[in-house]
């Protein structure tokens, strides 16, 4: 029976090629525009560390004085931690693993005459960083807690930077000059760039940044290396020492495996804040301390620009108008076939049969429109990749989105066909047959 309906639908569509073309075009445009923007939103809000993100949490404290006023145009200082707080959390060791970190941009002096010095972005971190995030290594490994304590001048390079500096040879054991200090390479990490770079300071361009080196935070602080990213101070007068208790600049992540651990950590943050308040350092309520999950933190940061959201709404509005258009056209088309439908009804077809037949016809338009929509969405994504925005290069459709587009188109067009089909199968056959 399905084959017969399909055949009927094809015949009917062929009979009005222009109208069919219009409906397919409208579906294609609407679906294409919507899927382009849905894909952009999908890649921007995707899980940066699948499989590991559920165990990652970031604690936040509120060391601000009572009279401090947050401003709309500057970053919130409580988004980062101060040095004393980060060190206290590290020392308390309440998570399975934990690491403090900050971004850095350093001038790298290659030991080769054919390469001019250049700036590289990297991360200053504590020893657990690699195990916490599961950074894969090609050679060597990270540093130890002892290296952290000794502020050892060691560095882990990513595979891209190691290849640029040392070719295909073994980089481990070599020396790299960063800024004004020599660092010994102890490991080469494989290409590993979470998108977005969730653990970075929120003022950067998180979709395009990548860390090319990692070195101990303690070494960076003791050598006074350049820290990139936001530093918010709230002391009277200028206080810019990295170890200041009145300036936040560090990010902190911890691994918590069970709900009990999470609850305990939350309680610990409140207790720590209360203790600091008792000591007179904190002034605000201890319950201001927060623990965000990874995805919760990304939602809090709200990385998706307003323009992208607006574009999505625009695309969906466009799709909606296209769909209203198709409902009207299908309605006209189906009602025009009242005669044919009445004959089929008179010959024994049930209402349900008519309904299914017309539904298949709408679905067919959806399939064709969906195929066109995929093509239009690819075109749209291509044009987005040409933009200089930092998220632009991520705009790619994966298999699930591709399948989703087709499904979306079919569902939308079947929905659009529902009302016309329902109207058409309620046509009283006797009246129509009489008029014929």
């Amino acid at each position: 029976m399905l084959g017969y309906y399909l055949n009927l639908a094809l015949r009917s569509l062929k009979r009005t090629p222009i109208l069919t073309g219009l409906m397919v075009l409208a579906t294609g445009l609407g679906i294409g525009a919507s899927m382009t923007m849905l894909t952009v939103l999908h890649v921007m809000t995707d899980d940066p560390l699948p499989g590991r993100s559920a165990q990652l949490y970031t604690p936040h404290l509120d060391p601000l004085p009572l009279e401090y006023k947050l401003r709309d145009d500057s970053p919130n200082p409580t988004d980062d931690l101060t040095w004393p707080d980060a060190m206290a959390l590290l020392k308390a060791h309440r998570g399975v693993r934990q690491a403090a970190m900050a971004g850095g941009s350093l001038l790298l002096w290659p030991g080769r005459s054919d390469l001019r010095p250049f700036y590289v972005n990297g991360r200053y971190a504590t020893a657990d960083f690699f195990a916490l995030f599961g950074v894969p290594f090609e050679r060597g490994g990270g540093w130890s807690a002892a290296d952290d304590a000794a502020a050892a001048q060691v560095v882990v390079l990513t595979e891209t930077l190691a290849r640029k500096l040392f070719g295909t040879g073994n980089a481990v054991g070599q020396t790299v000059r960063l800024g004004e200090h020599d660092f010994r390479v102890i490991g080469v990490a494989a290409h590993w760039v979470p998108k977005p770079l969730f653990y970075a300071d929120q003022t950067g361009t998180q979709y395009s940044d990548a860390d090319l080196f990692f070195l101990p935070l303690s070494a960076a602080v003791s050598q006074k290396l350049q820290v990139s990213g936001n530093r918010s101070g709230w002391a009277k007068g200028d206080e810019t020492a990295l170890t200041s208790a009145n300036m936040s600049w560090l990010q902190f992540w911890a691994q918590l495996d069970t709900p009990a651990q999470i609850a305990a950590y939350r309680q610990y943050l409140v207790d720590y804040s209360a203790q600091q308040k008792a000591l007179g350092r904190f002034q605000r309520p201890p319950t201001n301390a927060k623990l965000y999950s990874l995805m919760g933190w990304l939602a809090h940061e709200n990385l998706v620009p307003n323009d992208v959201r607006l574009q999505l709404w625009l695309a969906l509005g466009f799709l909606f108008v296209c769909m209203v258009n198709i409902v009207a056209l299908l309605l006209a088309k189906f009602l025009r076939r009242s005669g044919e439908i009445s004959v089929r009804r008179a010959l024994g077809a049930r209402r349900r049969d008519i309904f299914v037949q017309l539904g298949i016809e709408s679905a067919l338009i959806g399939v064709a429109g969906g195929a066109l929509g995929v093509a239009i969405a690819q075109l749209g994504l291509w044009s987005i990749r040409q933009r200089p925005d930092d998220y632009a290069r991520l705009a790619q459709m994966d298999a699930s989105m591709l399948l989703g587009t087709l499904m979306f188109a079919v569902v939308a067009s079947v929905l659009a066909g529902l009302l016309p089909a329902w109207r058409a199968c309620r046509v009283p056959p006797a009246l129509q047959l009489k008029a014929m």
Partner: protein, 410 residues
């Protein structure tokens, strides 16, 4: 032209006509708001910076040698840059230029009372103090940027400092009026914390490096402080067509003067590129908004034409009968045109309400201002025109139906 027969026909196609009306209404609502957003963005990207935009190019250099005397370095560099054929003038700034996003700002108060108020409130807001963008630079900056001095003078050579804070400043007219409303600002002493800064000149316009909101975007102040960091931005003024050549020559000249530096090709731009980069998202958005509005109008036109076509086919017999009993071709043509006019009129009436509703929604979500009401009649006119255009071809086909059709069975 009689309206009643049209209405009674439409009553037979209630659902279809309603759907078409709705489509017109949604199109009208979206297109009006989109047009308004386009107008807002166009207004945003055409804001004047106050500098000679199409004559400027910018090159950034970071010294990587140790223990260099930055002042001497800059003097040598500027001499080398000025020697490039085609360069009319050159100056160095630390990093700030209009629309290049690298802003440094400071709280500035017009009087001691205002400063005390700000300290008491622990906030600039409501104290009378302002937070202007700060521009520094070497002598010749005003001329190089092509700023228009409306009062006072340029800095004197003796007023420039390299370390510490200068004692004089040039402010924009907007900042002068904000600090000293209704009073002459020239010669006034502003308070920057515990220091005085005397206003020696007023320039017409100088935009901030990063826009905030229209009221404060022109609050800028220049002071005679020479850049004193290893990284320095050189601004070159030349004829517009020479800029690319000048930039290439400038890179070579800088590296020749001292190879111990990094000249980032990413930060070697004509000012036109800086401006385009700053507004790139807005231009993309304008393109997308226009494309989607045109797409919507196109789909609506298709819908109107498609449906009209269908109705013409469906009514071929009745048209034939009307023609046979005396209706002229013009009558038939006008019938379909009037029918379309009625549907579109109903559509834009609902659409106007929807447009206002959508605007109210956008105002809460995207800080969009209120939609000026004159957009609604313009949108209605556009949709009427669109409707008449798309119904024209089916209506003419209907008018061409021969009266003899009435005698045939369809």
């Amino acid at each position: 032209m009689q309206i009643r027969p049209i209405l009674s026909t439409l009553r037979h196609h209630k659902l279809t006509a309603t759907l078409l009306t709705l489509q017109v209404a949604f199109t009208c609502a979206i297109v009006c708001n989109v047009a308004f957003m386009v107008a807002k963005r166009v207004q945003r990207i055409s804001v004047p910076t106050g500098i000679a935009e199409n004559e400027l190019s910018v090159i950034h250099s970071v010294g990587i040698g140790k223990g260099e005397n930055m002042q001497a370095r800059q003097t040598t560099d500027l001499a080398a840059l000025r020697a490039i054929p085609g360069v009319r003038s050159a100056a160095a700034v630390s990093y700030s230029l209009p629309l290049n996003q690298n802003e440094s700002s400071s709280g500035i108060c017009p009087s001691k009372q205002a400063l005390d108020r700000a300290i008491q409130l622990n906030s600039i807001d409501g104290s009378g103090c302002v937070q202007p963008a700060l521009y520094d630079g070497t002598p010749g900056l005003i001329v190089t940027l092509g700023l228009h001095l409306v009062a006072g003078r340029d800095f004197l050579p003796g007023e420039y400092v390299s370390k510490g804070k200068p004692a004089v400043a040039i402010v924009t007219r907007a900042l002068a009026e904000k600090l000293y409303p209704g009073r002459p600002a020239l010669g006034q002493n502003m308070y920057d914390g515990d220091n005085f800064i005397r206003i020696v000149g007023i320039v017409d316009t100088l935009l901030r490096p990063a826009l905030r909101k229209p009221g404060v975007d022109a609050d800028s102040m220049i002071w005679p402080q020479r850049p004193d960091d290893t990284g320095v931005t050189y601004v070159l003024r030349s004829a517009p067509q020479d800029r690319q050549r000048v930039l290439t020559a400038a890179e070579a000249a800088l590296l020749q003067a001292n190879p111990n530096r990094i000249v980032d090709p990413q930060q070697m731009q004509t000012y036109t590129q800086i401006r385009r980069g700053y507004f790139q998202r807005d231009t993309t958005m304008i393109g997308l908004l226009i494309a989607s509005a045109l797409g919507l109008l196109f789909v609506t036109a298709l819908g109107i034409a498609g449906l009209a076509n269908f109705w013409v086919q469906q009514r071929t017999r009745s048209i034939g009968i009307r023609r046979a009993i005396g209706a002229t071709r013009g009558d038939i043509l006008h019938y379909f045109q009037a029918e379309n006019f009625l549907i579109v009129t109903a559509g834009v009436a609902i659409g106007a309400l929807l447009a206002i509703g959508l605007n109210l929604l956008l105002m809460t979500q995207y800080e969009l201002p209120r939609l000026p009401l004159w957009y609604l009649p313009v949108g209605a006119l556009a949709l009427w025109a669109l409707g008449q255009l798309s119904v024209l071809s089916p209506a003419r086909r209907a008018a061409a139906v021969q009266p003899v059709v009435a005698t045939r069975s369809v």
